[in-house]
Symmetry: C2
Amino acid sequence: MKVLRVPEATVSRLSIYSRFLERLEKNGVTTVSSNEIAKGVGVSPAQVRKDLAYFGEFGTRGVGYSVKDLIHYILKILGLTHTWPVVLVGAGNLGTALCAYRGFRDRGFNIVAVFDNDLLKIGKRIQELEVLPVERLPEVVAEHGVRIGIITVPQSSTQEAADLLVKSGVDALLTFGPAVVHVPEHVVVRNVDLSIKLEILTFNLAFREEFHPSHFFEPKG
Amino acid sequence: MKVLRVPEATVSRLSIYSRFLERLEKNGVTTVSSNEIAKGVGVSPAQVRKDLAYFGEFGTRGVGYSVKDLIHYILKILGLTHTWPVVLVGAGNLGTALCAYRGFRDRGFNIVAVFDNDLLKIGKRIQELEVLPVERLPEVVAEHGVRIGIITVPQSSTQEAADLLVKSGVDALLTFGPAVVHVPEHVVVRNVDLSIKLEILTFNLAFREEFHPSHFFEPKG
DNA sequence: GACTGTGAAGCCATTCACAGCT
DNA sequence: AGCTGTGAATGGCTTCACAGTC
């Protein structure tokens, strides 16, 4: 086993594997092969083995993997052996929906507070949480030891929200929408851009069906 | 210029470039270099030029690109020269939030109907739309010529919703959550999995800080 | 001088194919 | 015989570096 840079795609697949394995476990399955995992989640068996090999030797040659043990190892790799307190900035539609999202709680993410700077939203209740003014961010982050922040504010306020979170001590951010945020080296940022996803669909619908290199574009008039 | 497989990453970046360019245009900028685009969206200048080169020669050597023209070309590549009617299946929290999402409308996506199979949700109003029973999907899809469906139902119903949409004539799907869906060859599917995104963050927080190959795991006891 | 367009090089991720266990 | 773990091969995306153009 070598230690080297782990592809981010591998990390994503580990998350998928672990949820598939949890389903197997619920169904009483105790042992699984890379082939079965591959079929279940739609990747190649070699990919499954390679992904796991970045982190150790979890299987038994000739047999396969223990479902229970493999779940444990993957959750440990992903840092999911304990729950994570999370703060959410931006109490709009998306923020409200994420507060209610079961998938987060199922995986150990616990939204401990929601913030906004809009006086119309502050004080409103979302699930069991009262929307707090952003001024209280540092206090809440410190109190709960929050390291993860989700930003669901309008694009023009995203950098501001990120700065505030980082200054409060948060060092991992999930942003929504097209804004590019700048943060210190030690802060991890990932982004979800729903428009991109839809535009990948339209590209496939529109472009791949119609494109003929010599006729479609006439860029130079 | 060659015609070859376009990397999906290129398509995603085109979406980002176009939104950056639209901001420039609003600010009265008429010409832009690959360098400026690169700085603005956080990629390399060579990447910008290569991405555009998949589709034609849109710039002028020694000068740069016309902002207005480049926007036009990219929107055409992405299939965004006309609006797209979209249907949404699943009127839960996430579905409701997406109905209100400005980003979709800004890019020409028009949610024309929302469906659910839950009697408690059918008839409810979301924005200007009344939640319809899924039985009416084929009719609405045909009426509006809908090709894009967004699925925001629980994981266990995702395949069922996909089947229904495909049977109704939709050939591009955006799904949410961990479900793997199987569709005919001609249907495009992309997925957004928010838990994966958070788990990439925790991986970076937990694993990269702590991992020591010889001490951390002892998979074989 | 400035900037695009692009073949070549470099780098990274996936797949192959087989040695090594059980 | 069955299945994992892995070096080697492949394939694909990104960066380099420079020729071409204004």
